[in-house]
């Protein structure tokens, strides 16, 4: 499995996203540029210029028409994917750490940072999935996090709930219509900041990654803890693979936390765990800085990781990956029917 190395960014990667068909890969980094790549061969399709600060987050609507991005310049921007034109700018008081479209692309949530006297918020914007249409300035919902700021958030199935991960290691479920806090669960260790939250393909459960060195699989319906994946390093990202019952975790000792960072000590590997049995089943080396973001092809053909080292590595899964299965899974006929 030889990866394709994408060397288009000049600073550390912050988020990677595949389109729904998995053919195009979007990446954003602290160098203020969004890149689009063909996932099959790593050819760069284009870039999106306009942000005045480090980019923190991107997302693509399900029809691959619009691209949303959030950055440290306190804006959320909406782009026409095809032309690269910025079609809307929403201004905020603080940096935007996470954006995500709901399952039909009509709503966009944005998580804003707590800073300069402003509390962290989760904002919902109504979006018209049409590059020509006039986008509304209005925020259709604002959730203020007065306990501990939200760091990541996502939409549940049917856009019923907004799920948010917090700085103190808790995970909350909000009603996506009213914005009421329904549940707040201390899922991770106190202070073990939730660094990533990715939904399963049907959005009924999700995985969280945390600085407390664990990743957890949680039900979106009632926030029951389903699985725990322990590791030996602070985690920055976690993703669920479709087709195969695995999860991919990424992280590593931040450079400021270790005095002598050899690649051995740094633990800069992508770790594969079995989603159901919680066992670690493999590691993929390559980055020489912590992994900041991992994304999986929605069709399960490969995955991409973005590191603090400024590189994106795109991997295509090989035969062994698809053939792998526990004896128990074979018994039940779960392996091999690709």
């Amino acid at each position: 499995m030889r990866p394709i190395l994408l060397q288009g960014h000049e600073r550390s990667l912050t988020q990677i996203k595949y389109t729904k068909d998995g053919d195009i890969l979007f990446s954003c980094a602290k160098d203020q540029v969004i890149c689009a790549w063909f996932s099959a061969n790593g050819e760069r399709l284009g870039t999106y210029h306009g942000h005045q600060g480090a980019l923190w987050t991107i997302d693509i609507d399900p029809s691959t028409t619009l691209l949303a991005s959030g950055a440290a310049d306190n804006t959320v921007r909406l782009w026409d994917i095809r032309t690269g034109k910025c079609i809307k700018v929403w201004d905020f008081n603080t940096a935007v750490k996470r954006v995500e479209f709901n399952d039909d692309g009509t709503k966009l949530l944005a998580v804003t940072e707590k800073r300069m006297g402003y509390l962290g918020t989760i904002v919902v914007l109504d979006v018209k999935v049409d590059v020509e249409a006039e986008q509304s300035d209005e925020r259709s919902l604002v959730i203020t996090c007065d306990e501990s700021k939200a760091t990541v958030a996502g939409w549940s199935y049917l856009s019923r709930y907004i799920i948010a991960g917090h700085e103190d290691g808790t995970v909350s479920q909000y009603d996506a219509k009213s914005g009421d806090l329904l549940i707040n669960e201390p899922v991770h260790e106190d202070g073990g900041q939730v660094t990533d939250l990715q939904m399963s393909s049907d959005r009924t459960y999700f995985i969280t990654a945390s600085k407390d060195k664990t990743a957890k699989l949680i039900s979106a319906r009632d926030l029951t803890l389903l699985k725990t994946y322990p590791s030996d390093t602070p985690l920055n990202t976690a993703a669920i693979t479709p087709k195969k019952p695995f999860v991919i975790l990424g992280g590593g000792q931040a450079a400021m936390d270790v005095t002598t960072t050899s690649s051995r000590q740094g633990k800069f590997e992508a770790r594969f765990y079995h989603k159901v049995f919680e066992d670690e089943i493999g590691r993929v080396k390559g980055h020489f800085g912590p992994l900041n973001t991992v994304a999986v092809d929605p069709l399960g053909r490969g995955y991409a990781s973005g590191g603090e080292d400024g590189y994106v590595r795109v991997h295509a899964f090989d035969r062994g990956y698809f053939d792998f299965g526990y004896e128990v899974e074979r018994e039940m006929g779960l392996v091999g029917k690709r």
């Binding site: 050819e43 319906r221 030996d232 000590q265 128990v328």
Partner: protein
């Protein structure tokens, strides 16, 4: 009610004199015991009653007796007579100093004067203090003796049906004891937070687990890990058990300060650094001050070199009968147990003595029938006298053997575990003092006349040496470079030696087997049963090799080695990043290599190997500090019984393998069963979720089976063709118009 400001009169504002307040209760409570000038006085009771005329004779006799503990002051003896002209059987005595008075109460109290009379000596201040009115009950209260309570079985762990071994592991603030389960995670027996404040230590036979605390040392044991004894040595830094666990030495860098009312320690221990205790009673036997360290030699830069405190300072003979301490350059003091009296009341003067070691087992010298213990010592060159290595027999103090050596820089004494040999590793300098070389002087203690064999074929400096336990082979590590604390580890060479084959009984001369060059190794760890040895690189930043050697390899023997009593074979090599310690279990079946947070913070944890060097399991533990195996006492089986077992080993091993297989199958089955359960639970949950989602979609009037549709899309999309346009510039011509 507290007086309010209103009703304060002027008088109340200031007290005219203190007499108005009754301080007596406070005075009594906080009474400072002033120097009463009576500290040098003692009351002597239990004396014979004699008439006036024989009194001078008695006084003369008594003063002579009392002077044993000090010097009675002139006119310091007062024995009153009553009106009948008879003495009363007591006397008041003044010593020259209060210390002598204390010594008299300690040494002479309870000793016999003659057949019928016994001294009863008390400090006069104590008589005042304890005998004051109201302090003594008129009626005799018998002391309360606790009922006999049966102790837990201290060797319970040896009864494990699978003969597993235990180890103690210290990580973070937790101390846990575990059963070794080979490939499986160890089984926890007990785990306590803050069980120790620094480290833990097993007693040499494994009976007790010692924990260290600011207020002393505690020993634990039995299946419930109850406290067996404690030794209240405040700020104790290090401990050392006698080989038979009868006694223990505790040491603190800070001299002990004993408080007045300490229940265990007396003023005797005040200001001391070492205490030797009786483990069974928990009482101190004797305490010692630290010797002043000899003035540290100055290093080349003029800075004084910090000298390590020699540990153990008190070295035990193998049978717990003697303990000895060296005063560097002067003498060795041998104490006899259990009384802890100095043998023959005098230290053994050995001019210049640098180091000494007891034989680790009862020596069996040729044609010596009487009981003896041996120790080996060495002295450097003094003036024109050569350096010397000697063997001394105790208690006779006879020097059994000496050997003169020249150009000696340093020497190290290595006894073989059965006391059959002692190897003196002599670092010698050339005449110009520029180069160093090492000689081995091997004393064959059991042979007639204690012959010395010299191994001088070694060109380089030997940095490590180790005898095979219960064997007669050894391993050493040499380096050509002078060991310096640079980042690059020095290149070293590992050499193996064994005796050559001879006809008849006895052991042949030591011969070189093989040398492995270009290593970084610096440590040798023999299996406690001999035969297998690990040569490792520890405490290194770059290199972490573990080499597992077999000295009795059962395969073919190379022709060149046919005269040797060994067949050397490298069985396996390992690699443990950041390894700091290597520990064999007491049976020699397993070996643990560990990386302790005490030395560095990278990848702390341990690896478990079997004796063949096969990695059984590894575990990374944050803040891992220490792992040590529980030692086992000597076997109770006779030599013959052990032999039979060894002979039938193959049959036994069948049983054990069978057991292992059953265990494995059982566990495998359990794991599979568990997986099956987990998987079906998950699938059921998924099914339920999907059902619910479908129902909810239906309610909202959405398409039901979006997901399936997507899935199908996915399958098609999987084969999508990507069009790639390759452009290649073949030639570029710039045209100028």
């Amino acid at each position: 009610m507290a007086p309010s400001f209103d009703n304060l009169t002027e008088d109340n504002g200031t007290y005219d004199s203190e007499e108005e307040i009754d301080f007596s209760d406070l005075k009594e409570q906080y009474d400072v015991r002033l120097e009463q000038g009576l500290d040098a006085f003692v009351v002597v009771d239990g004396l014979p009653v004699v008439p006036e005329d024989s009194k001078p004779k008695l006084v003369k006799f008594l003063v002579k007796q009392l002077n044993k503990a000090g010097k009675v002051k002139e006119d310091g003896f007062f024995m009153p007579t009553n009106n009948k002209g008879m003495t009363e059987g007591y006397a008041f005595v003044e010593y020259q100093t209060p210390q002598q008075a204390i010594a008299a109460t300690k040494q002479l109290h309870g000793t016999a004067i003659d057949k019928r009379h016994t001294f009863a000596i008390n400090k006069i201040t104590d008589v005042e203090r304890y005998g004051r009115e109201g302090r003594i009950d008129d009626e005799y209260q018998p002391p309360k003796i606790d009922d006999f309570a049966e102790k837990e079985h201290l060797r319970w762990w040896l009864g494990d049906p699978n003969s597993r071994d235990q180890f103690v592991m210290l990580r973070g603030d937790n101390v846990g004891v575990f059963w070794n389960k080979k490939k499986d995670p160890p089984e926890n027996i007990v785990d306590r937070m803050h069980w120790t404040e620094s480290h833990v230590q097993w007693s040499p036979l494994g009976t007790y687990l010692a924990t260290m605390h600011a207020r002393g040392v505690q020993l634990w044991g039995g299946p419930n890990w109850t406290r067996q004894t404690r030794f209240p040595h405040p700020m104790c830094n290090l401990i050392d058990f006698s080989p038979g666990e009868t006694y223990i030495t505790t040491w603190s860098f800070k001299p002990i300060e004993v408080s007045e009312d300490d229940p265990i320690l007396s003023q005797e221990e005040d200001g001391k650094n070492y205490i030797i205790w009786d483990v069974a009673t928990g009482r101190p036997l004797r305490s010692f001050q630290m010797h002043d360290l000899p003035t540290p030699p100055e290093s080349e830069t003029g800075q004084p070199v910090k000298k390590k405190v020699p540990w153990p300072a008190f070295k035990w003979s193998s049978d717990d009968k003697f303990v000895a301490r060296m005063l560097e350059g002067q003498s060795i003091s041998v104490y006899e147990l259990p009384k802890m009296t100095l043998m023959d009341k005098t230290s053994i003067k050995i001019e210049g003595v640098m180091d000494f070691e007891w034989s680790p087992a009862l020596p069996q010298r040729d044609s010596v029938k009487t009981y003896e213990q041996l120790f080996c010592f060495w002295t450097p060159e003094i003036g024109s006298n050569p350096a010397k290595v000697g063997l001394m027999s105790i208690p006779s103090k006879e020097i059994v053997r000496t050997r003169n050596l020249f150009n000696v820089t340093d020497a190290k004494l290595h006894w073989q575990s059965q006391g059959a040999y002692v190897c003196v590793k002599v670092d010698r300098h050339s005449k110009s003092k520029k180069s160093l070389a090492t000689n081995l002087e091997i004393f064959r203690v059991r042979e007639k006349g204690v012959p010395v064999e010299v191994v001088d074929s070694i060109k380089d400096t030997v940095i490590n040496f180790a005898w095979e336990p219960k064997g007669d082979r050894f391993v050493l590590i040499t380096t050509a470079e002078v060991v310096m604390t640079t980042a690059v580890p020095p290149k070293t060479a590992v050499s193996f030696f064994c005796p050559e084959k001879i006809k008849g009984a006895g052991v042949g001369n030591f011969k070189h087997i093989r040398t492995i060059e270009k290593k970084n190794s610096n440590a040798i760890y023999w299996s406690p049963k001999g035969r297998f040895v690990i040569v490792a690189t520890v405490h290194s930043q770059q290199s972490f090799d573990l080499d597992f050697w077999d000295l009795d390899f059962e395969g073919e023997k190379p022709e060149s080695d046919k005269d040797l009593t060994a067949n050397l074979q490298l069985m396996n090599t390992g690699d443990h990043y950041g390894v700091t310690d290597v520990d064999w279990d007491p049976t020699g079946r397993y070996c643990v290599t560990s990386a302790s947070v005490w030395k560095h913070t990278m990848e702390n944890g341990y690896h478990l190997y079997d004796f063949k060097g096969e990695l059984l399991r590894e575990e990374h533990i944050e803040k891992f500090k220490q792992l040590s195996w529980r030692p086992r006492p000597l076997t109770l089986l006779s030599r013959d019984e052990q032999k039979t077992i060894r002979k039938n080993l193959r049959e036994y091993s069948k049983d054990f393998e069978e057991q292992d297989r059953i265990e494995e199958d059982k566990e495998k089955g359990a794991i599979v069963e568990e997986r099956r359960r987990v998987l079906s639970e998950w699938l059921a949950w998924r099914e339920k979720e999907e059902e619910e989602l479908k129902a909810e979609r239906r309610e909202l009037g959405l398409k039901e089976d979006v997901e399936e549709e997507e899935q199908a899309d996915g399958e098609d999309g999987g084969g999508a063709v990507v069009e790639e346009i390759m452009e290649e510039v073949l030639d570029e011509v710039e045209e100028i118009a």
